[in-house]
């Protein structure tokens, strides 16, 4: 079996701020294969964007990364600078959250997409670059003329689609989409998700979609990984994680998003009380214990490890083993 496209092994990210060390990501293992859509879910501040930034070594200078981030077998974290620059955008690209600020406000769209193309294919003529830019825009359903506009002249959905087109510019094997539908209204969300799905099916790229909206991931992804306070708390096939979650947090997350068109769900929002813990001051034992409806005293004594369950599922919770058979010991 060929190596997976992306393999993260025991990745940890720690920020140094004002003399304190803040663990943002701890012991994360994650893989994405070609043609597979993996969803990364969790509330804001759980470390998912930080984790994603390590794929192209874009984490801030104050962050220290441990572990390995293997892209097609090579560790991104220790790659030579020249190889890293080649990898960026041509091997893997990112569709950033909040396209409003992720596009340079004073450059035209043509220039921003063209920049990506010419960086990796300097030999192309201006004509060819313009052609390719136009093709990319059409691929995401935008007319070719949009290339000569500035970002502020586009609507939110159009900007997001430009970001997707730009991410495709160098034919990457992996696309990371960070909150691609946040801040878009529902109709536009549906269109953007449509585009993303087509890309995977037709181009065979691997995709890692980050979102706090589990319902979006449930429809689109093959597998879902749920993070809480920097750790993976559940992973498995999308339908299973969304529909019959093992971890109490994953269960709460999927219940928090009412199904559109279901009146009962609308009138009974099942939110979770409390806030995610401050990464600088994590509670002892299981980080979720303070908010967990099923927490026992014993949950604060040790950190639950990820254990395998049947159906290719993983969960990190002491209370799961009570009603399901563990398949293999850690």
């Amino acid at each position: 079996m060929t190596a997976p496209l992306l393999e993260m092994r025991d990745v940890g990210v720690t920020y140094r701020a004002r003399g304190r060390e803040i663990p943002a990501v701890r012991d994360v293992n994650l893989t994405v294969s070609r043609g597979e859509i993996v969803g990364l879910a969790g509330e804001s501040g759980c470390g998912k964007s930080t984790l994603a930034s390590t794929i192209l070594r874009l984490q801030p200078a104050s962050a220290q990364v441990t572990g390995q981030v293997l892209f097609e077998g090579e560790d991104v974290l220790t790659m030579r600078w020249g190889d890293l620059r080649t990898l960026r955008w041509a091997g893997a690209s990112i569709v950033f959250q909040g396209a409003l600020h992720s596009l340079n406000p004073v450059h035209r769209i043509s220039r921003q997409i063209g920049e990506a193309i010419t960086t990796h294919q300097p030999g192309l003529s201006e004509q060819q670059v313009t052609e390719r830019t136009g093709d990319l825009l059409e691929q995401v359903g935008l007319p070719r003329q949009r290339a000569s506009t500035y970002p502020h002249q586009l609507s939110g959905g159009q900007k997001q689609r430009v970001m997707i087109a730009m991410a495709l510019a160098c034919n990457p094997s992996l696309i990371v989409a960070d909150e691609p539908t946040t801040a878009l209204d529902v109709m536009v969300q549906a269109q953007v998700l449509d585009v993303l799905q087509h890309l995977v099916r037709e181009l065979g790229v691997g995709m890692l979609i980050i979102s706090h909206d589990l319902s979006v991931l449930g429809d689109l992804c093959d597998r879902i990984v749920v993070m809480y306070a920097g750790r993976v708390v559940e992973a498995g096939p999308a339908a299973a994680v969304f529909g019959q979650s093992l971890h109490p947090y994953a269960r709460a997350l999927s219940a928090a998003f009412p199904k559109v068109g279901d009146p009962a769900a609308r009138f009974a929002p099942a939110g979770l009380p409390g806030d995610p813990p401050d990464p600088a001051e994590l509670p002892p034992g299981c980080s979720f214990a303070p908010r967990c409806p099923q927490a026992l005293d014993s949950c604060t004594e040790a950190v639950p490890l990820l254990e395998s369950y049947d159906g290719g599922r993983l969960a990190a919770c002491f209370r799961v083993g009570e009603d399901r058979e563990t398949v293999s010991l850690p």
Binding site: R85, H101, P105
Partner: protein, 348 residues
């Protein structure tokens, strides 16, 4: 391979405006020119009222201590039209200003406009050279300080800039004269202590040019240093503001080199607020020119203004004020137009 996407939902997708630059820039220019004309008008009103609406009888104020008999006062009032109603005086003032009649210098007995034209080019030379140098070097330094933020280079240059910023530029000139023109102890001075040229006769054009340039070295250096500090601080702050922006992460993710990210993205955006602030500070360059010319005895408009203080030569003061304000208004207009070229968001 083309995606088939359901047609753009009309309720959510706004029809974007045309991406062309040509359409809205002229309108932007028009708006800015109108604004400048308004500033000009306001400045003319201020100029007019400065001497006339202040406490005391205008004749006594303007001809302070020089007229003793009532006949002299009446004569003065008549020749200067001060016995007319205020509104009529204002229109006379406007008419005179626009035809170039700015009065006659009390000290030199020469039309003010002629006097000013005579003294204009040393000032332009001094201010022009200093502004170009301080802007270019200051911006360059600010960029490098911000990019290598908190390095030793950054800390020391920022500290030096703050100190220079706290210094009266003319005092810096005095110190430089003492050190480089007069010399310290055994080390002799190499630069002239003042003046525009050595007054030698029979110089060829090139010789004269070099002579003038040599005399301008210290003054230009002083004025440049004074504003370079401020501009580098402004540009540094501007670039620092951009450093946290998301589009820089996008640029890095695309595989661009660090220099490309800095120049094409960060600096390009940082130029916008920097242009505005630098333009607003142009008024102080004019003030700096006045003091530097005084200290170095450069026979320009600045020295003319301070000389006019002694008599006091009111019409000369009024004339130089007009010129200085006009120059600043014009420079601000130029900066605004430049900003319109740099920032596409402002044109739509």
């Amino acid at each position: 391979m083309s995606m088939v996407v359901a047609g753009e939902a009309p309720a959510t997708e706004v029809t974007p405006r045309s991406g062309g630059r040509g359409k809205s820039y002229p309108r932007y220019v028009g708006g800015k020119v109108l604004g400048s004309l308004g500033s000009l008008a306001f400045m003319l009103v201020v100029n007019f009222f400065l001497f006339r609406v202040l406490p005391g009888d205008p004749a006594r104020t303007l001809g302070r201590g020089r007229f003793t008999t009532p006949e002299q006062l009446a004569e003065f009032n008549r020749t200067h039209g001060l016995d007319q109603p205020l509104v009529e005086q204002f229109f006379t003032f406007l008419r005179n200003t626009f035809t170039g009649d700015l009065g006659v210098s009390i000290k030199y007995n020469v039309p003010v406009s002629e006097l000013m034209l005579d003294r204009m080019w040393p000032t332009l030379l001094l201010v022009g050279t200093s502004t170009i140098l301080s802007t270019v070097i200051g911006i360059w330094m600010g960029i490098h300080q911000a990019w290598k933020r908190d390095s030793f280079l950054d800390r020391s240059t920022t500290g030096t800039a703050l100190t220079l910023y706290s210094m009266p530029e003319w005092w810096l000139g005095l110190v430089l004269i003492a050190v480089f023109s007069v010399g310290i102890g055994p080390i002799p001075g190499i630069f002239p202590t003042g003046g525009l040229d050595s007054g030698a006769v029979g110089q060829s054009a090139i010789e004269h040019g070099l002579d003038v340039a040599w005399h301008l070295v210290l003054p230009v250096f002083t004025l440049t240093l004074a504003y370079l500090a401020e501009y580098s601080l402004i540009m540094r702050a501007s670039v620092l503001d951009e450093l946290g922006e998301d589009y820089l992460t996008t640029a890095r993710a695309k595989g661009l080199r660090d220099i490309q990210v800095r120049n094409n993205h960060a600096v390009r955006n940082a130029m916008l607020p920097a242009t505005t602030v630098i333009a607003l500070n142009l008024g102080f360059v004019v003030s700096g020119a006045i003091t530097i010319e005084t200290v170095f005895s450069i026979p320009g408009l600045g020295l003319l203004s301070t000389e006019a203080l002694q008599t006091p030569d009111y019409w000369v003061l009024q004339g130089t004020f007009l010129f200085a304000s006009g120059a600043v208004i014009f420079a601000n207009l130029a900066a605004n137009l430049l900003y319109g070229l740099l920032d596409p968001r402002v044109r739509s």
